[in-house]
Symmetry: C2
Subunit: 340 residues, 2 copies
């Protein structure tokens, strides 16, 4: 069995890190002391978010490969920085795990996290490991934003257009596929878009930074718990309501993973349900003042930007369906503590 | 049962927090968005540390009152800032807990954390709650230090004098009392120094800041896993060795809690074992260049500062006992993953 020091050393060798004394480049002191010391560039604001990734609640070790768990633990925390339009810089990891997972499992976990860290340009500067009956990874991510440019949830105004990046429902579709077929689904569907989004989500960092830099968005957040739940949060923070056009939603169609073509009505209903209430899409939900809406292209670096509705002054979120009916959109997305 | 939003709202009402938009005072955006936004004063360095406080590993809910768990979760994280000589500013909390603990238990936990936050002058700026089979609190603390003044572990040099704050072994003695007598020990021994240090440790913030500001310490760290283990870490980081004088150690004497008087030889041996290998003292271990040792008083604001040995060039940690014998001091303190 390994001891704490060797676990920390191993993690920080595999994951892009600042270790020990760095006389320059913004981190005078990295991993290995009581704390890390960071210098932020003058005139920037620091952006902080924290997120726990918990066995049983967010993933299952019998179902999810350790690489994906390590990758996703960091990706979902970084998604909060994307939602602020902030640039990722540093992160800290507290990892609780059973002794039996401190060997090969941990190496795979670290490799997945390393892949995410390289992709997002973020470095590990501190951490803590302890023993527990199950795996709990808590991540704190630190980013930078230009003063006053961070994208908040509270700036949406009546008349603003409502947008999402990418497609909705993929995270949920990938989870359903994995639950249905078990771990072998991963080898069986190597090209599944849904499975890829579920296991290795790609926070919309470039899109968030572009919205913030150009001041296009009046409000933004990332979709982690499902559109119906997250849109209600954005509206509550902005003291507004919203109308969602069901026919405009960029669905992931079909039970078959990866397929995005039009589908039979039953499949359509399932796709709509996933898009509205499925969690873990890690797409951005954002609002744009009407006068700026013409500046939003239909794609940004290949990622669709879709107008799905508008902000209204009347509180509450409603949906306009294909038949022209308006009905309340209840928040039926993910809530850890909601009555089941 | 409560939902996530109400849990977060409740936590942030009880614990000193920055909630929502704060146009000034260093936190443009607090709890409630995807992330918090912080402005650091010009010319300061930011100090980060993260720490998990885990049911089963660090505390037992059948033994430890929720107030003490909330207090200590924050205190032990802040102790890492004390060890850097940094001033605490902000913290983030990720809390995983069973649904059954989301009511009264959580309120008591939050009140304990609030007491710690007020005492240490630190504010909650972000968090995340999720459901889990047991309680895991991961804290990230953020402090400020003057550039180049943070106290590291790596600056000890041969000839430096070795010091500790306070008394050693109290944390372990308090734990032993609690394990022996159960939760009723708390009402039974209201004046127990050991129990107080075990349940409500007091990070040495003033002492750390004083050492850093005056550049008295060449190296420092906090004692969380026991002197024998932590001193070995400081020596490894500084590429030096150390000699500890057993007779100089500021022990907590006696099986009777709170007593610090001289004791019978058997009690003395137990006190020495706790001081050397007992964890969770949260005192500071620091080294002082010989020419500055005369500047270190025997007490600082009532807290003893005790010279317990010196740094030597020969690697390894040895102890000089009362009989004049020198023997190796093996690191027998706390390690979550060490073979038992």
């Amino acid at each position: 069995m390994r001891d704490e020091a060797s676990i920390i050393a191993r993690l920080s060798r595999i994951v892009p890190s600042r270790i020990g004394v760095w006389p320059s480049r913004g981190v005078p002191l990295g991993i290995g002391d009581d704390a890390a010391v960071v210098q932020f560039p003058r005139g920037c604001e620091s952006v902080f978010s924290t997120d726990a990734f918990v066995e049983g609640a967010h993933f299952l070790t019998r179902l999810h490969p350790p690489q994906a768990i390590g990758y996703k633990a960091l990706a979902r925390a970084v998604s909060d920085l994307a939602a602020m339009g902030a640039a990722p810089r540093y992160f800290l990891l507290t990892l609780s795990l059973p002794a039996g997972k401190a060997g090969a499992w941990l190496d795979h976990f670290a490799r997945g996290m390393a892949r995410a860290a390289r992709r997002f340009g973020i470095r590990l500067v501190g951490g803590d490991v302890s023993r527990h009956t199950s795996v709990v990874a808590a991540l704190t991510v630190i980013g930078e934003a230009r003063p006053g440019r961070a994208l908040t949830r509270s700036g949406a105004r009546p008349g603003d257009a409502l947008y999402v990046t990418g497609h909705l429902g993929a995270g949920q579709a990938g989870l359903e596929l994995l639950l249905r077929e078990g771990p072998r689904a991963i080898a069986r569907h190597p090209d599944s878009y849904s499975l890829k989004r579920h296991l290795y989500p790609d926070p919309r960092l470039a899109e968030g930074a572009w919205l913030a830099t150009n001041k296009f968005a009046s409000a933004a957040m990332d979709l982690s718990d499902g559109l119906s739940t997250d849109l209600a949060r954005l509206c509550a923070a902005s003291h507004v309501g919203a109308v969602v056009h069901a026919s405009a939603l960029p669905l992931v169609h079909g039970e078959r993973p990866g397929s995005r073509r039009a589908a039979a009505p039953r499949e359509d209903r399932a796709a709509l349900r996933r898009a509205l209430h499925g969690g873990e899409d890690y797409e951005l939900l954002f609002t744009v003042p009407r006068r700026l809406a013409s500046r939003i292209p239909s794609r940004f670096h290949g990622v669709p930007l879709t107008r799905i509705g508008e902000i209204v002054s009347r509180r509450g979120v409603v949906m306009l369906d294909a038949g022209g009916r308006i009905r309340p959109l209840r928040p039926l997305g993910w809530d850890h503590f909601a009555p089941k």
